[in-house]
Amino acid sequence: MISFNHIQKILTDNNPTNIEALAQEASSLTRQYFGHTISLYAPIYLSNFCSSHCTYCGFHSHHRIKRFKLTDKEMNQEMKHVADQGIENILLLTGESYKVTPLSYLMDTVTVAKQYFPNISLEVHPMEEDEYKTLFLHGVDGITVYQETYDRERYKKVHLSGIKADYDFRAGTAQRAAAAGIRSISLGILLGLSSNTSQDLFDLYEHLSFMEKNYPGVEYSLSFPRIQKIKGEDFGKVYIDDKTFIKIICLTRTLFPRVGINLSTREKPELRDHALKLGITRMSAGSNTSVGGYTLKEPQQQDPQFDIEDTRSVKAITTLLKEKNLDPVFTDWRRIQA
């Protein structure tokens, strides 16, 4: 049983001896259950059209940014570039627009992606179960869907319009995807968005426990992105410092020894390097978070969803992992659907 008091106690306890003990436990559990391996993946942004207005997001519908959607030819070019770096696990992302990036567009994208990557995950607008089923049978292995915050009041205040404003539809996404047969599901909260981090974590853990119990065959992973400023404006209710961030990763590992924990390039290299030993099992490498950012647009033309802090290449990350006695895993899955 996960206790709220336990979470709160860990997050407020700044005794270095206790934090070290927690980190030791997390580190040891990670090695026991995942061995000395770290899986690598990279994102490709397909489109930044978005019909949702989420106050904290660089892509939201009221922002005056240039909107792009990759064509067939363009996505081929981007995918080839990423695959050439050695990446085999790909995360394909769009803004949340049913009109601009409907199921048919996603299906076409997956058709192209299958030529380059053995493992395909999507981070796109939430869909219905039959749509997930269609995507699964077409070759989609994973779905990433973050609730951002489980605090309904706060959720309402930051998700002003669009499909994302429907809290319950979003919260049910993982269930619909799991019921459709999707193999891996990534859940997460945007740290700092809600003022009560302990409560948000507790609710996320409860969500995960519910999913584990009802859809035991799915491989789950969690992500803990920290909220960032957009053009100088701060949307965070609380600031999650490095110490708290590390405690969250370690606490998660001790509560869920077998669940994957992802870490994106929005975190600084030094922090990522340390986190590797504590509970992280998957990390992105060589990432670009703009549509067409790898090969099509010059840096000054790009409007990234978030700023990348760790700009090291796939090769540099691979070398780093080996130096740290960790085995970089590129292939986690091989497509078996006909």
Binding site: R31, Q32, H36, P216, R258, F330, R334, I336
Partner: protein, 271 residues
């Protein structure tokens, strides 16, 4: 008395009875898994030091794109490759993975792992039986990984499995032989090789399984996550041999109390 025990009586305490799986005669009774190692050199050295003759590799982890990372480049050709179906959630997926492994040229030895619970990683016995049946018919040498259960094991024998691989405890848990008494039943009643797989955390636990009469032991996590994997792999191989010799020597039974005279039958000898 089972056939197994009769066999051991005629077997010399040092010269073991031959050990066959899928028609292949094996000298080593130690099988090694290849996941979780910190690098490929540690794996290669662990194979050499333990002198294992069978290693399991997850098809999903065979990286064809990166030569240096391709695990197969680090496994000697003399070692039999036992591809496993890790990632399969039902019989159909396991069957597809097995076929893909064969088509890719990795041979016809397949370890069936059907796991539809990512928290405990316990195998789905009924789906495992289905997959075994189909794959045996297709000419595979099938080694199914199961929770120890007598009826399941009998069914596996019936459909043509080459061995039964019962788990000692949860994968990666290092808890040892938590299912000991259930495995003992399989050892007593099942005439195809019993290979204890999963949960074996230290050499003494491997010896314990072998002393009891298991035909072989498979280890992965304990070796891969040890500080000195090759040393531990060797220790496991030696423990497996020691346990086997112990078994062949017909170990004297363990007793809870000292042996008094004959309180129950002593009267027979009284005048």
């Amino acid at each position: 008395m089972t056939t197994r025990t009769t066999e051991t009586k005629i077997a010399d305490a040092i010269e073991d009875t031959p050990f066959f799986i899928g028609g292949k005669k094996l000298t080593s009774r130690f099988l090694l898994g290849t996941g979780k190692f910190r690098n490929k050199a540690d794996l290669a050295q662990s194979i050499t030091e333990s002198q294992t003759e069978i290693v399991t590799v997850a098809l999903r982890r065979i990286d064809l794109e990166h030569h240096e990372e391709n695990i197969l480049e680090h496994i000697p050709k003399s070692v039999t490759l036992l591809t496993n179906t890790s990632g399969a959630r039902d019989a159909q997926e396991a069957i597809r993975i097995a076929r893909l492994a064969k088509e890719s040229g990795y041979g016809n030895w397949i370890k069936i792992e059907v796991i539809n619970d990512t928290k405990y990683l316990l195998p789905d016995n009924s789906e495992t039986i289905k997959a075994t049946e189909t794959l045996v018919k297709e000419g595979f040498v099938v080694l199914p990984y199961v929770s120890p259960d007598l009826y399941v094991a009998r069914e596996l024998v019936k459909v043509g499995a080459a061995s039964v691989m019962p788990l000692g405890s949860l994968i990666g848990s290092n808890q040892g032989l938590k299912t000991k008494e259930l495995i003992r039943v399989l050892i007593n009643e099942i005439d195809i090789p019993i290979i204890v797989d999963a949960g074996i955390g230290c050499p003494s636990q491997a010896a314990e399984a072998m002393e009891m009469g298991a035909d072989a032991v498979l280890v992965n996590t304990a070796v891969a996550t040890a500080e000195k994997p090759a040393k531990l792999a060797k220790a496991f191989a030696m423990a497996v041999q020691a346990g086997r010799l112990g078994y062949l020597s017909n170990l004297p039974p363990v007793k809870d109390t000292a042996n008094a005279s004959s309180p129950l039958t002593g009267f027979l000898y009284e005048n």
